[in-house]
């Protein structure tokens, strides 16, 4: 009893030491944390579990991609002012500087009872705590025509930065002047609320420079622009007058990739030269397959003090896959904040200590309306012990007064710093 009390009251490092961990060395006998998914949530969690455990907890990050490609700023690749190299960062600093075991592999299944993950390569990894940051997957089954052979190769979403980002840029480059680029937006919630509207601005920016007779058509399932509405509408009405047309209440039901036609629930069909379809989204496949997506079979419910799943012990879920708290966006910034909240909680729990009872974090989201001018939305989120969720702090947060170049500089500084905080 005395020993337990002393353990609980000892400092974090000492408590971990008492678990049988040798000094700074990565002990094979120490607690094992496996992180699935190296995006903003997972990579951040991996780094911070190492840092905050004084490098005493074993962390393995499983990620199939060889490099990190950022969704934030990727719309500027479509606009032509940034390249793929600008939004790509290596993973190796996580291992070199922080001793994270990097595993380029895919998790095919999770056994929550045996606390083991199965890898596509055939191996398996045991864990004491699993941190799952699976991002989103597209609900392609809601659009029957997208199942036809080749449809998904020509009608792109480019909503996971990478090969599709570059492929969509090539489609825009190949489009003749006078063509129409049509972008469909799913009902909220989806990854990156202002992202589609920033994309409309970026494609319009490119057209205004290179193909001024071309059009951007935004077909939105929502009743109105879901984020920074007045700021985007001002950019479309003034800066991109005659280029961008916005149509709300356009709920996409099917796509014909052969005739390049979009079919809507209540509106006329739309044909366009380049189709860019953002399907409805849900938590990444591995979370759904593991039975964690309990909200509408799409999103994972978590305890916001620890990010532990409400249905699976020792499994923590981060980022876009989480059933968001009120007014909490599915953003890279937010996933990074989830990563740190979860990392602190996992280190505390593995040390026999109570997790932080009052998480507070913020979200700052910059959108480029041209190659230089930017608008932001910001919010501060604080844990509410009565409602047991994160709530926005009243009176805090807000948006830019108007698009401006100073915030264009701050937006790139944000990108550099969050990339470093997540990966370096």
């Amino acid at each position: 009893m005395q020993r337990r009390q002393l353990l609980q009251t000892a400092s974090m490092g000492a408590a971990l030491g008492a678990l049988g961990l040798p000094g700074k060395a990565i002990g094979q006998s120490g607690p094992k944390v496996v992180v699935v998914g190296g995006g903003y949530g997972g990579a951040t969690a991996a780094k911070y579990v190492r840092m905050w455990s004084d490098y005493q907890i074993n962390v393995t990050l499983v990620e199939p991609n060889p490099e990190f490609v950022s969704c934030p700023i990727s719309n500027l690749v479509l606009g032509g002012s940034k390249t793929m190299a600008d939004i790509t960062s290596p993973y190796d600093n996580l291992s070199k500087r922080h001793g994270v075991n990097l595993l380029r592999d895919l998790v095919t299944s999770i056994d929550p009872d045996r606390r083991i993950v199965q890898l596509a390569s055939g191996g398996e990894l045991p864990y004491d705590r699993l941190i799952l940051s699976p991002g989103v997957d597209m609900m392609m089954d809601t659009l029957p025509g997208m199942a036809r052979a080749g449809a998904q190769d020509t009608v792109l979403h480019a909503w996971k930065a990478g090969a599709q980002t570059l492929a969509l840029r090539r489609q825009l480059e190949a489009m003749p002047d006078g063509g129409v680029y049509a972008l469909t937006v799913p009902l909220a919630p989806y990854r990156c609320p202002p992202g589609p509207y920033e994309r409309a601005c970026q494609v319009a920016h490119y057209f205004s420079q290179a193909k001024p007779r071309s059009k951007v058509l935004v077909l939105d399932a929502n009743d109105d622009v879901t984020s920074k509405g007045p700021l985007f509408k001002k950019a479309w009405a003034e800066r991109y007058q005659g280029i961008v047309e916005y149509r709300p209440k356009h709920s996409l039901v099917d796509v014909d990739a052969v005739t390049n036609t979009l079919k809507f629930e209540f509106s006329d069909d739309v044909k366009a030269t380049v189709l860019n379809v953002l399907p409805a989204m849900r938590a990444g496949d591995i979370a759904v397959k593991t039975g964690l997506a309990t909200a509408n079979k799409r999103w994972c419910e978590v305890d916001f003090l620890t990010h532990e799943s409400k249905v699976a012990k020792n499994i923590h879920v981060l980022g876009d896959a989480v059933l968001a708290a009120p007014a909490m966006p599915k953003s890279g910034h937010m996933a990074n904040q989830h990563g740190k909240t979860c990392a602190a909680a996992v280190v505390a729990l593995l040390s026999g200590q109570a997790p932080n009872s009052l998480p507070i974090y913020n979200n700052t989201c910059y959108s480029f309306v041209s190659d230089k001018e930017v608008v932001h939305v910001a919010s501060v989120h604080r844990y509410d012990a009565v409602q047991k969720t994160m709530l926005t702090v009243p009176g805090a947060g807000g948006v830019s007064g108007a698009a401006n170049e100073l915030e264009g500089i701050y937006a790139m500084a944000w990108a550099q710093n969050i990339w470093a905080d997540t990966l370096a």
């Binding site: 009390q5 974090m12 507070i360 700052t364 910001a378 100073l406 701050y410 500084a413 710093n417």
Partner: protein, 102 residues
């Protein structure tokens, strides 16, 4: 258990409890501060054109944060962020960052 041992054990538990309280508090501020890293860098050391917070003068930083919150210091976004924290939390954040290595 002898009375001396008992006394020592009680003292150890009391000491432990006290240091745990201090520790939890410090860890809580560390977690809040980590929320600033997205723009101001891990452990307050920024890259690019963002302001580094690590090792900045404590009183100066606290005053800036409180002025942002009051709306008396011009900002693009910090006036909106600072309003999300109590005056005491802003002071604790300034204390934390000022103690970090530049």
């Amino acid at each position: 258990m002898s009375s001396t041992t008992r006394l020592l054990a009680v003292a150890a538990v009391l000491w432990g409890a006290q240091s745990c309280w201090a520790q939890a508090d410090a860890l809580q501020v560390r977690s809040w501060a980590a929320g600033c890293a997205n723009c101001h860098g891990t452990l307050g050391v920024a890259v690019g054109s963002s302001a580094s917070l690590a090792g900045a003068p404590k009183e100066d930083m606290a005053k800036k944060l409180l002025d942002y919150k009051a709306g008396t210091r011009p900002a693009t976004v910090m006036h909106q962020i600072a309003k999300g924290y109590s005056d005491e939390q802003l002071q604790q954040l300034a204390d934390y960052f000022s103690a970090l290595k530049k």
